[in-house]
């Protein structure tokens, strides 16, 4: 509300005008333009993205161990196997817990840093480049550094704990703590991305708005809450959706640091399905495909909910 009022006031217009120039039904030329514009990207994405997905769906109904050419159809037995698999429940829980911590965590850290960096300070380019740089580092280097930082005997974190009087923790050796270490590791890795997105969005907010609010006597926090945050909502929606999609498919960091351990405490769904397919646990590709589809359904549902909620809460400026 405040946003629209402010915008309208700036434009010197009453703010409940009907959008001019838009016919009730799309003209044929709009249809044609729409299809023409989307075709190049859509064709590529369908050929290389959708077709493999449909193909893997077919594989999820087969018994397929990747070595022998014998891949008979077994109906729903792969899916039924999931019901009897004791590890799947753990994998699902870990995936959900991880996502619930990682997504808000990254967004908050990213937002905070982006706000801090959205100003003309000396060295601001250095700070920004440092944030982006966390995206550039290879996952193996990231994993190695964090394994070291959180080493129970030789790591810096336990050393700091020691200085402050906290008890020493086992971190990656502990079934209760290992997942949280991975959360921290990945938040670190994705902070740069969140900063980039939020920074671009912040740069798009006209200063005239925040200045107008300040003139009107609004405090900085109120301005932030009532003007900046709503204007950032498209970026926030994008981040929530994209980070969630990625979090639910966590793999690399687990593969490179804990390999699902200790004792499956960091096993998440994609890592588990990789283990089933290639990790030497089974070479059971049919089962892995079934798990992937199960995850796929979860992701679709979650994303759809996010978009739905987004339609209510997100302000686009048109």
């Amino acid at each position: 509300m405040i946003v629209r009022a402010a915008l309208a006031r700036q434009a010197g217009q009453p703010w409940r005008t009907r959008q001019p120039g838009r016919p009730a039904r799309p003209k044929a030329s709009e249809q044609a333009a729409g299809w023409a514009f989307v075709t190049p990207a859509v064709v590529l994405i369908i050929v290389f993205g959708v077709v493999p997905i449909v193909w893997s769906a077919v594989m999820s109904f087969q018994r397929n161990n990747l070595f022998s050419p014998n891949t008979p159809f077994v109906g729903l037995s792969n899916y039924r196997q999931m019901l009897h698999d004791p590890v799947i429940g753990q994998a699902i829980t870990h995936t959900i817990v991880y996502t619930a911590l990682f997504v808000p965590g990254t967004m908050l850290v990213g937002l905070f840093l982006a706000v801090a960096m959205n100003r003309k300070l000396r060295f601001i380019s250095v700070y920004r480049t440092a944030a982006y740089a966390t995206m550039a580092i290879s996952t193996i280097s990231e994993a190695l550094v964090f394994i070291w930082l959180f080493d129970p005997s030789y790591g810096i974190v336990n050393y700091l704990f020691h200085l402050v009087g906290f008890p020493q923790q086992q971190f990656l050796n502990s079934t209760s703590e290992a997942l949280y270490v991975i959360v921290i590791m990945t938040i670190w890795g994705w902070t740069g991305f969140a900063v980039v997105i939020y920074l671009a969005a912040l740069q798009g907010i006209p200063q005239a708005l925040t200045e107008a609010a300040a003139i009107d006597g609004a405090g900085r926090w109120a301005t932030f809450r009532r003007i900046t945050l709503p204007l950032l909502s498209p970026a926030s929606l994008f981040l929530v959706v994209w980070l969630t999609i990625n979090a639910l498919q966590l793999f690399d960091e687990v593969y490179l640091s804990t390999q699902g351990g200790p004792l499956n405490s960091t096993t998440v769904l994609v890592y588990y399905l990789y283990e089933q397919a290639f990790g030497g646990a089974n070479f059971n590709f049919g089962y892995a495909s079934a798990i992937a589809y199960f995850l796929f359904v979860i992701i679709i549902v979650v994303t759809a909910i996010q978009f739905r909620v987004g339609r209510r809460l997100v302000h686009y400026r048109s």
Partner: protein, 429 residues
Amino acid sequence: MRGHWLSAAAASALLACGLAACGTGTPNSTAGGLQIWEGYTGAEAKAFTHLLAVWNKAHPSEKVSYLYVNNDDSLPKLLTAVKGGSQPDIAYVYGSWAPNVAQIPQVVNLTKVVQQPGVDWSDFWVGERDVATVKGEVIGIPALVDNLAVVYNKSLFAAAGLPAPGPDWTWNQFVADAKKLTIPAKKQFGTAYVTPGTEDTVWHWEALLWEAGGQILNSTNTKAAFDSQAGLESLNTLRTMAVTDKSMYLDPSDSEYANLFNSGKIGMLVTGPWDLSGFPNVKYGVQIMPSFPGSSGGHQTISGPDNWVIFNNGSKRVAAAEKFLIWMTATPQATYFSLHTGDLPIRQSVENSPQFLQKMDQALPGVDTFVSNLGNVKQARPQLPTYPKVSTILGQMIVSVLLGKTQPRAALASAAQQVNQALASGSSS
């Protein structure tokens, strides 16, 4: 100006695409040239490419080119290639995958080939031959052999007033030494164990199991046999160090332990010859693994051989591949490779080369103990397609005991039950 920029960029993209296409290699259908996928790095890569060059010069119509594929990543790449019909001619395959790789229809059966005169199949170590053979069929030619022994830090032993381990030592002595070498104030540990729960965790323990006189599975590979007194004894040994004495550093990353040893923070490691080159800062000694007194197992060790596997891309190429591999693994080439890399000799006759052991030891101190330890390899892990599943169960069991979460007896019983289930539900599902 942006319009110009975009159209210029689009044009240059097309141009780049065209240029790139022109500049790159020819399609995969070249006759005659064989392709081999391997994961050699450093000294191994140098030695291998040298031997390749020698072969290529002598056999210009049967040239072999190589593609580096990291061994850990090679399975997804290999399986995808097989499914897509673009498999290489030869690939380096981990021995633990052999029972499953044998099911690939394009894998060439080499049973008759290795019986030919001039190959001298029995010259390869028994552990290697066992791993290259699945259900009586030979599906690979040995590429690598290794084994586990104890590498210890001489300075730390001296500082603790301990005598260096002798070849007759026992696990009790190992445990006692580890305890003495553990100094919490210095963050120094007596020994270390890798705990990612993968096969690396498992095979270290299996060596102890065998030494205690135990077996992993029964003789028909239908039931678990590790749930025995031997299993208990071996697991308890590890547990004493990890949980009671806290003399064992647990490494879930499977990579820190080596650097820790090199930094003088660990007294003894049970590891293989590949780690020796990573210890430049430590005066180390090598000794065979201790034994359990009174057990039938004696001083045994475990070996993890790997294979060269040939894929059928046409009879001419198969014949050339066989010829190449037989030459590559023949005694003169194997000797060259060992001497230049420090890798253990894949053939027994290599040791007959003059002053072989001395030369090896000069290049890589301590490796001669590993070479003679090859004689202590008496058996191999079960060659089953379901072994990977068994391995996962055993891995969880060991980690659970080492973390102090379960008692060995209960852990063994539970694991045995799971293994029996896995074996019963059979092959590849």
